[in-house]
């Protein structure tokens, strides 16, 4: 059952990913990406990261992607054709190189002893409480810094968006 779920959503994720990359219209790409994120969220859940899975749906698929959609609608990008005319030499290499990258990543995959996998405490580990405890003790400083980062990002976005002429 678990395997079935995994393969189902993994396939959806890969296909959706390919659509994102290959689709000419940005709006379709965005929608495909949402699908992809959703299926990845399922996989997160399967990994026991319940909290992260929830955030994935809420923040990523929800907030960020909506922002993307807004932008797509706002500037209405023209359809794009695959063309290598500008930087032919580099782009021609892109596909094989991506393939090589994938191959290397697969080849280099660490051989993990599955027996080491410790899934007894999945529920505990993934619980909000565990994460929160860690976040507000060991990772307090990075956490706070992140808040400043977001603040800066918000301000930056505003300044940038406003600055036109």
């Amino acid at each position: 059952m678990e395997q079935l779920v995994f393969y189902l959503f993994a396939t959806i994720a890969v296909v959706a990913g390919l659509v994102v990359v290959l689709q000419r219209k940005a709006i379709y790409s965005a929608l495909a990406l949402i699908v992809c994120f959703g299926s990845i969220a399922v996989l997160f859940y399967q990994l026991g990261a319940f909290f992260i899975a929830a955030i994935q749906v809420i923040v990523y698929a929800g907030a960020i992607m909506v922002m993307f959609l807004f932008v797509v609608m706002l500037i209405d990008p023209e359809s794009e054709f695959f063309s290598f005319n500008r930087i032919r030499r580099v782009s021609v290499l892109a596909l094989p190189m991506s393939a090589v990258l994938a191959l290397i990543l697969l080849w280099a995959m660490p051989v993990l002893r599955e027996s080491d996998t410790n899934s007894q405490s999945l529920a505990q580990k993934g619980s909000i409480e565990v994460i929160a405890r860690s976040l507000f003790s060991d990772y307090l400083l990075p956490f706070e810094v992140t808040s400043i980062l977001i603040l800066v990002a918000v301000l930056g976005a505003m300044v940038l968006a406003k600055k036109v002429d």
Binding site: L33, L43, E80, L105, K125, G156, V164
Partner: protein, 100 residues
């Protein structure tokens, strides 16, 4: 039970797809989305290892990656808007002034 390796393979595939997208697409927004895809692939790997080693740190890290991604998206999209207004296009190849 799904093994860690399976997740890692999936992560690798997704990452490569994202990479391909960044390189071949000229549409800035699509490039951006490809980057998000790559980030997610990485997140997947993080979580796989978190489970594998039974540690919460991986999840924390994913949390941070997401925050950064959000911030990045905010600024990045603002930039895209700006760029499209300036160039009347979201074609990345038209924004080629950053060179010698």
């Amino acid at each position: 039970m799904v093994s860690t390796t399976q997740f890692l393979v999936l992560g690798a595939i997704l990452f490569s797809i994202g990479t391909l997208g960044v390189i071949v697409r000229r549409n800035t927004i699509t490039m951006f989305m490809s980057i998000e895809l790559m980030l997610n692939a990485v997140n997947l790997t993080f979580l796989a290892f978190a489970r594998h080693f039974d540690q919460v740190d991986g999840q924390i890290f994913v949390f941070f990656v997401m925050t950064v991604a959000a911030a990045e998206a905010a600024v990045g999209l603002a930039l895209i808007v700006l760029l499209s207004k300036r160039n009347d296009s979201v074609d990345i190849d038209q924004a080629n002034t950053m060179k010698w």
